[in-house]
């Protein structure tokens, strides 16, 4: 493999910073990471800045302002590889709930001087604005998946990030199914794995933090939950969470609006 150190930049858009914290949370692996890549731009971690262009840009957060949209284009121009990380960057995040309401009305209600606020009507994924080389899901992302993706881009192999259901993680980990054994409404069967089935491990239904899995049958799950007494308003909220902007969850949620 190439011994030349890759230049990494970490960018923030509309987000809670949790995914960037997952990078810092790598702790033990951070030193090894620093041996193989130069952290050139990462304001969450350091004030020092090395100018672009960059080999890899990680983007956290969604596009919610006209300024964001321009910034995304600039990052794309300045980066060989762009990887969007987290639910905000890959589907618009929890703030994509604004896509279902009239934002200007809220701006007027909340801010004393609404004319100072320059915001878009929607919160959208980075890939809706620029071509993205890879999307890493999660709210927040899983640090081991992030290391896998970075290592794969450095080594030049396909990242091993399965797009299968959370159910598979439950079964591999030996969690009894919370939907079947406890009657918990669980999005696991339609949600992409990656979290290690964290919530079911603590007897909670899956919240869908990693967005829709490949080939999700959201309507069959919703119909089943509905037969078990889950109300339409709750079904809508179930799909309108951290990935409410992901097409499969968005379309399913609209049926109960």
């Amino acid at each position: 493999m190439s011994t030349e150190k890759k230049k990494l930049a970490v960018w923030k858009f509309a987000s809670c910073d949790g995914c960037q914290l997952s990078i810092l949370d790598c702790e033990d692996e951070l030193l090894l990471l620093a041996e193989h890549i130069t952290i050139a731009y990462f304001p969450e971690a350091t004030k020092s800045v090395i100018e672009g262009p960059y080999d890899i840009s990680l983007i956290e957060g969604s596009v919610t302002t006209p300024h964001d949209a321009i910034k995304a284009l600039e990052i794309r121009k300045n980066s060989k590889t762009v990887i969007s990380i987290g639910a905000c960057a890959t589907s618009g995040g929890i703030q994509a709930l604004r896509n279902y309401i009239k934002v200007s009305k809220y701006v007027k209600a909340v801010y004393a001087k609404p004319e100072y606020v320059d915001t878009l009507e929607t919160s959208t994924a980075i890939a809706d604005h620029i071509p993205v080389d890879y999307e890493l899901r999660g709210c927040p992302i899983n640090k081991y998946q992030l290391l896998e993706v970075l290592a794969s881009f450095i080594v030049g192999k396909q990242p091993n990030v399965p797009n299968q259901s959370v159910c598979i993680e439950c079964k591999l980990n030996g969690n009894p199914c919370v939907a079947v054994a406890r009657g918990e409404p669980c999005l696991g069967p339609v949600t992409q794995a990656g979290c290690g089935a964290l919530c079911p491990h603590y007897y909670r239904g899956c919240f869908g933090c990693y967005g829709p899995k490949e080939n999700p049958n959201t309507s069959a799950l919703a119909q089943h939950l509905s037969e078990y007494g889950v109300m339409d308003s709750d079904l809508m909220r179930l799909f309108r969470n951290f990935n409410s902007g992901a097409p499969a969850f968005r379309e399913e949620s609209k049926k109960y609006d």
Partner: protein, 391 residues
């Protein structure tokens, strides 16, 4: 000695406790059913008293409930979400790791599995192990880890006295009473009069132990009570399918409209395949650290309901849920005969209970049976249809 000629013994809980301790002293790792997180799970246990005691279960399509009951014994339920395949072919297993640079590296392979005892194995799971033997031990490619795990394996079987609503082992040759493939088999009898087990020892190790226990020989009455509890279990399981007929039926109904109907309900979540005691598919993952100096190869359970499972150059062979469900069901109930000479289903009912939307394989089969498409098509026309993108 033939099974019916062997003496049966009456064992107490203390006898079994003693057996557990003796096997521990002999270095066996012991696994069995324990209550955890609302279900009966199969796990490593360090004492006999960790085994589930005092639970009755209720299973239905997509639902599972356990209730504590003072009269319930150790094994008076059917099967939980896990089967013993998790110990013979673990869900995740490191195959090897490599350390060093590309010009100078060393490969290390993990140690072989410990010798194990399986407690409370139902006949459906014994059948499943027999099926897995064919998959992993016969033919050109032997799974050496499975082979090693099987080598010193002791199976303590139980006659299944409380089948669930989803059980249908009577539809196959097997039924609820183990007849081979075990070292010791037990029928638990718990009533007002007491709590004991009618035992049949098959292997030399167990026969010697039985001799040493000086346990009472089972009387005619004891045997009668044991066989009656099994008869009751059989009566509680209606025949749900005819395996041979099912195999033929599916072969001639590959384009049945019902596949689309199932697909509208199926989540392609893979739960059915992961709880199935005979589903054996796996994938391998390579994990490389960022330095490139350390690589691990892992074997992980996989499923025909996963998109990447059928991915080859150019795309997925089975992109639709229709094609995935059909692949699974026709493999279980039909193609398995061609591939391994038996059914791939043992009637344990796990796929019915643990399907999050309660899809019942026997009902789906019945729906096709009620309205079959017609006579068998020859291979050529089937192939052509497939080529037209019928999946």
């Amino acid at each position: 000695m033939r099974s019916k000629d062997r003496p049966r013994y009456v064992l107490t809980v203390d006898h079994l406790r003693g057996l557990f301790d003796e096997l521990s002293d002999q270095g066996y790792e012991q696994v069995g059913p324990i209550f955890r997180d609302g279900a009966i799970m199969l796990e490593k246990i360090n004492s006999f008293d960790e085994l589930t005691l005092g639970y009755l279960e209720q299973q239905d399509k997509g639902s599972y409930n356990l209730d504590q009951h003072p009269d319930a014994g150790y094994f008076q339920y059917s099967v939980g979400p896990q089967s013993f395949k998790k110990f013979l072919n673990p869900p995740r297993r490191k195959l090897w790791e490599a350390n060093g640079s590309s010009s100078n590296f060393e490969i290390t392979v993990p140690e072989r599995p410990a010798k194990m005892v399986f407690w409370g194995v139902r006949n459906c799971d014994i059948e499943a192990i027999r099926i897995l033997d064919k998959v992993f031990l016969e033919g050109a490619y032997v799974n050496d880890w499975y082979q090693a795990a099987k080598e010193d394996l002791l199976i303590i079987a139980v006659g299944c006295t409380h089948p669930s609503k989803n059980c249908f082992c009577t539809s196959f040759d097997s039924g609820p009473m183990p007849y081979e493939g075990y070292d010791l088999s037990l029928v638990e009898v718990k009533d007002g009069a007491g709590h004991h087990f009618i035992a049949d020892g098959k292997s030399d190790l167990i026969k010697h132990w039985l001799n040493d226990t000086e346990a009472q020989l089972a009387s005619k009455d004891d045997l009668e009570i044991a066989s009656r509890t099994i008869e009751e279990a059989i009566d509680n399981m209606p025949i749900r399918l005819n395996p041979k007929e099912a195999s033929e039926l599916l072969k001639t109904n590959l384009e049945h409209s019902h596949w689309e109907q199932v697909a509208s309900r199926c989540l392609s979540c893979a739960n059915c395949t992961l709880v199935c005691p005979t589903c054996f598919c796996s994938t391998t993952e390579d994990i490389t650290d960022i330095s490139g100096d350390h690589t691990e190869r892992w074997l992980t359970w996989d499923s025909c309901f996963v998109g990447d499972f059928s991915y080859i150059h150019g795309g997925q062979i089975r992109p639709s849920t229709r094609s995935r469900y059909r692949q699974w069901m026709t493999h279980k109930l039909s193609n398995w005969y061609d591939q391994f000479g038996s059914s791939g289903c043992v009637g344990c009912g796990r796929c019915i209970t643990w399907c999050p939307v309660g899809i019942d394989i026997t009902e789906e089969l019945a729906a096709i049976n009620d309205n079959p498409v017609g006579p068998a098509k020859d291979k050529k026309s089937r192939g052509n249809e497939k080529h037209k993108g019928s999946t």
